[in-house]
């Protein structure tokens, strides 16, 4: 099970996948196990698994869900294979026999699919125990197909030679536009983070619609909008983290440019204003201009706080998620107690303070390798 290739690939791709998706997986776990009353948990999942292995319709729905998960993993792994850091695979992993490569990639995909696989296999067991045979076998075959199919896709990709760097459509049409410093964050999103951006906007839309359905009776309370916006800002953490990684790796030269801290801070605010443009439209179409402006400022200052927090703690996803969670709870309570405008001022102030204190003080990624 553990040849040298398996180990390296698991370390790069499977571990990387979990690191990159820690937040969303936590939410998934919470939805699966946290929302059910603890006493009912076992029965609830047993019923769910039985439904899965007895009803073809349920089976199709869950298969579709698993497929989405697997497509997400393809997106991640294929993206990583193309990354510069992994280019050595093109002249090392290829030297293993086809069989070994396929096996190694299958192991990687198996590990990536563990949350789906474990649940699926348990359902198969439950099905057999209750006298269902056909659908459990189909579940098993489906999981196997997903694993081996994905492995084949990855191995195939590694054998296709690199074609240099393709340019996204936005880069082509924006050809000779002026590109001021702040816009680089926006271009980066539309060049390399399109999917993350789309998923974030989809999530935003779901959150907003959800909140206003849930609180239909108090729709005009500004607190509902405030909490929806806080949730929307929190949905942006993945994107914010990516922007900081981009800034640290590709814009490190900025620290040698004669920009004042205020200019840089303002630039990042502008970038997020553009990134959150869809939410802005929603705000102004729904609220009076003054309230919309206030809510927008709240949203942007929360996102800026999430951004600037990273100057302080460094690019550490685990530490980051914990602090984001803490801040979320804090701001949530402030909004609930009608302190939304104070919360907005405080988050903006704290963001600026964190930025001012840490912008030139942080350890850079490269600084750590002691060249």
């Amino acid at each position: 099970m553990s040849g040298p290739l398996d180990k390296v690939l698991i370390k790069i791709f499977a571990a990387g996948f979990y690191r990159a998706h820690a937040g969303i997986l936590m939410v998934g776990l919470f939805v699966m196990f946290g929302v059910v009353e603890p006493g009912q948990l076992l029965n609830y999942h047993k019923t769910l698994m039985l439904a899965l292995v007895s009803s073809p319709l349920m089976l199709l729905v869950i298969f579709a869900g698993w497929l989405l998960y697997v497509i997400k993993s393809w997106h991640y792994v294929l993206g990583q294979i193309a990354a510069v850091n992994q280019q050595f695979l093109f002249y090392s992993s290829n030297a293993f026999s086809q069989k070994q490569q396929l096996k190694a990639w299958s192991v990687v995909q198996f590990v990536i699919q563990l949350p789906v696989g474990v649940y699926g296999l348990m359902a198969v067991g439950v099905g057999f125990a209750h006298g269902y045979y056909l659908l459990p076998v189909i579940v098993f075959v489906y999981l196997l197909l997903l694993t081996v199919g994905s492995a084949w896709l990855y191995a195939f990709r590694i054998h296709k030679l690199l074609d240099g760097s393709g340019q996204s459509w936005l880069m082509k049409i924006s050809g000779n536009w002026q590109k001021p410093w702040f816009s680089l964050f926006v271009y980066h999103v539309f060049d390399k983070q399109k999917i993350t951006w789309l998923v974030t906007k989809g999530l935003s839309w779901l959150l907003i619609t959800g909140f206003f359905l849930l609180f239909a009776d108090v729709q005009h309370d500004v607190r509902v909008a405030g909490i929806a916006l806080l949730a929307v800002a929190t949905a942006h953490v993945r994107l914010v983290f990516e922007e900081r990684v981009f800034e640290e790796k590709w814009l490190s030269f900025t620290r040698n440019l004669p920009y004042s801290r205020l200019q840089i801070f303002g630039g990042i605010v502008l970038a997020y204003l553009i990134i959150m443009f869809p939410e802005t439209i929603w705000l102004f179409s729904r609220f009076s201009p003054l309230v919309a402006l206030g809510l927008l400022a709240t949203g942007i200052s929360t996102v800026m706080l999430f951004h600037c927090l990273l100057y302080y703690i460094g690019l550490d996803m685990e530490k980051y998620m914990l602090r984001v969670f803490f801040l979320f709870v804090l701001i949530f309570w402030m909004i609930l107690f009608k302190l939304i405008w104070i919360a907005a001022l405080l988050t903006a102030g704290l963001a600026w303070l964190l930025f001012y204190k840490n912008y030139y003080e942080q350890q850079t990624l490269e600084g750590d390798d002691q060249k």
Partner: protein, 211 residues
Amino acid sequence: MLDFVKFQKFYGNFSALTINEFTLPPGVYWIKGVNGSGKSTLLKSVAGMLAFNGDILLDDAISIKKHPVAYRKLVNFAEAEPLFPEFLTGSEMIRLFAAAKDAPTGQETEFINSMQMQSYMDKPVGTYSSGMLKKLSLVLAFLGRPRLILLDEPLITIDTASLKILYSWIHRLHLEEGVSFMLTSHQTFDETDRLKVTELMIDHQNLQFSN
């Protein structure tokens, strides 16, 4: 030209470089030291890219900590292995730096032409070879009206013809405009009788003149 005041650079608890009091008069400096001795750390600190304790003063008056913007107008830097956003073209990088460093209009043209970079200036940086990227970063370091230019490993990856051109730029800026240089390299510099290169040595986490 450059004063170090109680300069200390730590990586965690490990002291990487300590320069208590040290003054560099105007000149061209070649910083030597084995791998990992802290050459890049020194240049990145002087460029304002790495955090450190203490202070660095340019021309006795401009402090990197107290006058961050003014200092960075006057100190330019080319990294050993530059990284620029891959979707930007060479021209866009030049425009960004020229605007930031207040470069006179058209200043870059001569640099670009002499290094024969015209053909790929409008292509995205992501398609550049490491030599092309290196040349671009060198041009960026010469933009504006710097007092000090820091070049980290400027001799690696560029071809021999470009090397000669780089030397000529250094000559000209130093002799005609009095610009100082700090360079690191494992190769020997091509010293001519017109340009005096002073050697500096980093040893035991300390910077000193080597004899």
